[in-house]
């Protein structure tokens, strides 16, 4: 078995053995969304107006909760150092860890989002736009998040700092994602916004491996 396949298998096994860590951010995601109809009133029109933004903000906040899991345990157990010592490419191994993080934290979120779209009274075109933005936007969240987690993993009190570093970087994504869903709500084409998110994702995919590798090396130092 190649080291990459072995690592992916290990990550998946670990993730499914610690189910609570998987489920808690999801429950948090649903709870944050539940707060909004209670906070601003259950009028369907208002919910439809704020729905796209609420879902995206909740997704970003809940992703921050689970983000540290990306490297924290492996760093504390010395497993990251073992990865750095192995023959396989460190960048490749780290990207695989990011991929497995996306698979276990964001894919469930994309899967349950139809339910939430229903709760917030989104129309069908809005729902497809939401799925498209989540599918393209959440890998971006994982990749950018991995850079910041790599930098803060050596710190004992990294949690709030991680949010402080990451939220400003997610603002452009939030702007384009909600703008795409709002266009869909008005029956307008939302291709341009999707294209911009895809361009952001591709650029990040090309450049972030170097940054993630460097960030982890700074922490391993």
């Amino acid at each position: 078995m190649s080291p990459y396949a072995a690592l992916l298998k290990r990550e998946m096994t670990l993730a499914f053995r610690q189910k609570s860590e998987l489920i808690q951010p999801l429950v948090f995601f649903v709870l944050v969304i539940t707060l909004f109809p209670l906070g601003v009133g259950p009028s369907p029109d208002i919910l439809q107006r704020i729905g796209p933004g609420v879902i995206w903000v909740a997704a970003i906040l809940s992703s921050l909760l689970g983000m540290e899991r990306l490297f924290r345990d492996d760093f504390q157990h010395g497993w990251l150092e073992q990865l750095a010592l192995s023959d396989a490419s460190m960048t490749g191994l780290l990207m695989l860890k990011v991929l497995s993080h996306w698979l276990v934290s964001f894919v469930p979120l994309v899967i349950i989002s139809p339910l939430l779209a229903l709760l917030l009274n989104l129309t069908e075109p809005m729902y497809w736009a939401l799925m498209a933005t989540l599918a393209l936007g959440t890998p971006l969240v994982s990749l950018v998040g991995a850079i910041a987690v790599g930098l803060t993993v050596g710190l004992n009190r990294g949690g709030v700092l991680l949010a402080l570093l990451l939220i400003p970087l997610f603002i452009p994504l939030l702007i384009f994602a909600t703008s795409a869903i709002e266009s869909a709500a008005m029956q307008l084409p939302y291709g341009p916004q999707i294209a911009i998110i895809a361009a952001l994702l591709l650029t990040t995919l090309a450049l972030s491996p170097f940054a993630i590798n460097y960030a982890v090396k700074v922490s391993l130092h």
Binding site: L151, L165, P168, P172, I175, A211, Y214, H221
Partner: protein, 252 residues
């Protein structure tokens, strides 16, 4: 080709360079800020539409330009640190960061103060305002990350990554008024085209721009000097420096 630059990686040489440059930057800053501000606020003609309110431009535009310029300078310092493994480059980065953050704050504050009478609101969620606010958060993030590490070399490397990642925001701020047709007006002084401002209003603005640039440079140099001395306290050359300045003080 870059060989002449390398001696400045040594903290002692960098300190001496700061010492030599600081009086020049400080003089230019004081002289041009006095001339530019007095000229702009008192003698420049009032705008035919905005009256005297337009005079905020003499503070707002230079500070906004310098908020981006300082960020680029900080990111370049971080990149130099990563490429050539210079400790002094990381010290430069963290010396510039708070100065740039204050410039960003001044730009946001003066913009809000101007926006109240002109747009009727302190704050509008316009593309340029939002991206400038993100810039402020990026500065704060770099500073917070640097402060979180005890090992300052590691802190410099980590904060440097954030500084370089955040540089994508600078072109977004610059082009925000062209890409999104929002409330904030387009550029007033463009380098290539004909400026859309009368010459008697433009000159004080350019002088103040020079003054702000020199001011940012001077404060950064002072902070860099302090940073070098603090980090090198245990080195003999710093001990000599302290002994010399004590001796001079006793003589006087």
């Amino acid at each position: 080709m870059w060989k002449w630059l390398h001696p400045y990686a040594k903290p002692e040489r960098a300190y001496q360079l700061c010492h030599t440059l600081l009086p020049w930057f400080a003089t230019v800053a004081v002289v041009s800020l006095i001339i530019g501000t007095v000229w702009g606020l008192v003698f420049a003609p009032a705008d035919y539409q905005q009256g005297d309110s337009f005079r905020i431009i003499y503070i707002h535009v230079p500070s906004a330009i310098l908020s981006m310029g300082a960020y680029v300078a900080m990111a370049i310092a971080a990149a130099v640190g990563m490429i050539w493994q210079w400790r002094t480059a990381y010290m430069t980065m963290i010396a510039i960061a708070p100065v740039g953050a204050v410039m960003t704050f001044i730009a946001l504050f003066t913009g809000a103060a101007w926006g109240k009478p002109m747009w009727g609101a302190w704050w509008v969620w316009d593309a340029r305002l939002t991206s400038e606010l993100i810039l402020l958060f990026l500065y704060l993030g770099v500073m917070a990350l640097y402060a979180a590490f005890d090992d300052k070399l590691q802190a410099g490397k980590a904060a440097g990554v954030m500084a370089v990642v955040g540089v994508v925001n600078v072109p977004i701020i610059h082009y925000s008024v062209e890409w999104w047709n929002t409330l904030h007006q387009g550029a007033t002084i463009s380098k290539f085209g004909k400026p859309s401002i009368a010459p008697e209003m433009l000159w004080p603005l350019l002088i103040n721009l020079l003054g702000f640039a020199a001011f940012v440079g001077a404060i950064s140099l002072m902070r860099l000097r302090n940073e070098i001395v603090q980090r090198e306290l245990h080195r003999p050359w710093v001990a000599d420096l302290v002994a010399n300045s004590n001796a001079r003080a006793e003589k006087e």
